[in-house]
């Protein structure tokens, strides 16, 4: 059987000329790094689960993508991360929502899948579970970037003050 991998960094209104050259290059570099992280696992015979997690963790650390570091802000000015992972062999699955202090949300989802009797944990309990299972913690400041703060300010300044309903920001 031959291996295969696909990744994404989000869809939206990016058109040619919409992204700066720097953002275009940074996006492609981030995708290339994540693709290589996952492909390296598969080339050496590693599992699909490990490959998917490795690729997503690279993107979670890349501030150009809306996950982990570089996530968008809530209306209250906080960052809350969600993640899920699933194995096709036995339909095992793990998911977390509303994480605020866990560096790699996908690693927390994997721990829920493999080290708890549950599928889905949310909020402070999900962070507490992650930290109790040695999943790396991170200060909320780790996730914040000036660009995302600017985008939040822009949205909140709009008269209707609605969330990013037209998915302009990742």
């Amino acid at each position: 059987m031959s291996w295969a991998l696909a990744i994404h960094g989000g869809s939206g209104s990016m058109r040619r000329g919409h992204l700066s050259q720097a953002d275009d290059e940074a996006g492609r570099a981030g995708l290339a790094a994540a693709l290589e992280a996952g492909a390296a696992v598969l080339r050496r015979g590693g599992s699909a689960l490990d490959a998917a997690q490795a690729a997503v963790e690279v993107l979670e650390d890349d501030p150009h993508f809306n996950a982990g570091r570089g996530s968008v802000f809530t209306a209250e000015g906080r960052i809350e991360c969600d993640a899920a992972i699933m194995a096709g062999s036995d339909l095992a699955a793990g998911a977390v929502a509303g994480l605020r202090t866990t560096r790699h949300p996908v690693a927390a989802a994997r721990a829920v899948m493999e080290r708890s009797p549950h599928v889905f944990l949310a909020g402070a309990g999900a962070d507490a579970f992650a930290h109790a299972h040695d999943i790396e913690a991170a200060d909320p400041a780790w996730f914040e970037t000036a660009e995302r703060r600017r985008q939040l300010d822009e949205i909140l300044a709009r008269p209707d003050g609605r969330f990013d309903s037209d998915m302009k920001y990742g």
Binding site: M1, S2, A4, A6, I7, H8, G9, G10, S11, G12, S13, M14, R15, R16, H18, R28, G30, L31, A32, A34, L35, A39, G45, S47, A48, L49, A51, A52, V56, L59, F65, N66, G68, G70, V72, F73, A75, E80, C81, D82, A83, A84, I85, M86, A87, G88, S89, A93, A95, G98, V106, F120, F143, R148, L156, F163, D164, S165, M167, Y169
Partner: protein
């Protein structure tokens, strides 16, 4: 939102999705990414799927699971099932995209937005990276 779908040398598949959600979200709003069957699903009998976009529509359509069900029960190729699901998404007024990998062949994607950050690699294919819809 970011995601990955993989098939390993043993033929096992996996899907993973991670997101910060929507800018300015309120009241603890959660989208499709962490909902198994909506934004993330994997079934070795069919495919592995990770989604991105207007999460509320992906939740209502159960898109990741539905794509796998079409492959498993109707014999669709993942690519055809992916296009059909994005078509249904658009019909409901939703926007977004998905990536998929099946029991053989390279991974693929489908989306109805102007662009999508996407990439793929396979044992027998050169890596591809793209952002704009016309790439």
């Amino acid at each position: 939102t970011v995601g990955a779908v993989a098939r390993d040398m043993a033929g096992r598949m996996a899907a993973a999705t991670s997101t910060g959600g929507l800018t300015g979200k309120k009241w603890g709003r959660v989208g499709d990414s962490p909902l198994i069957g909506a934004g993330t699903y994997a079934d070795d009998r069919a495919a592995a799927v990770s989604c991105t976009g207007a999460g509320e529509y992906f939740i209502r359509l159960g898109i990741a699971h539905e794509l796998c069900a079409r492959v498993r029960l109707a014999g669709d190729l993942p690519s055809a099932a992916g296009e059909a699901m994005i078509g249904e998404l658009g019909t409901m007024g939703g926007k977004g995209g998905l990536i998929h990998v099946g029991r053989d062949g390279p991974g693929g994607w489908a989306f109805n937005t102007p662009g999508m950050y996407r990439a793929r690699a396979a044992a027998d294919a050169a890596p591809e990276i793209a952002i704009y819809g016309d790439e």
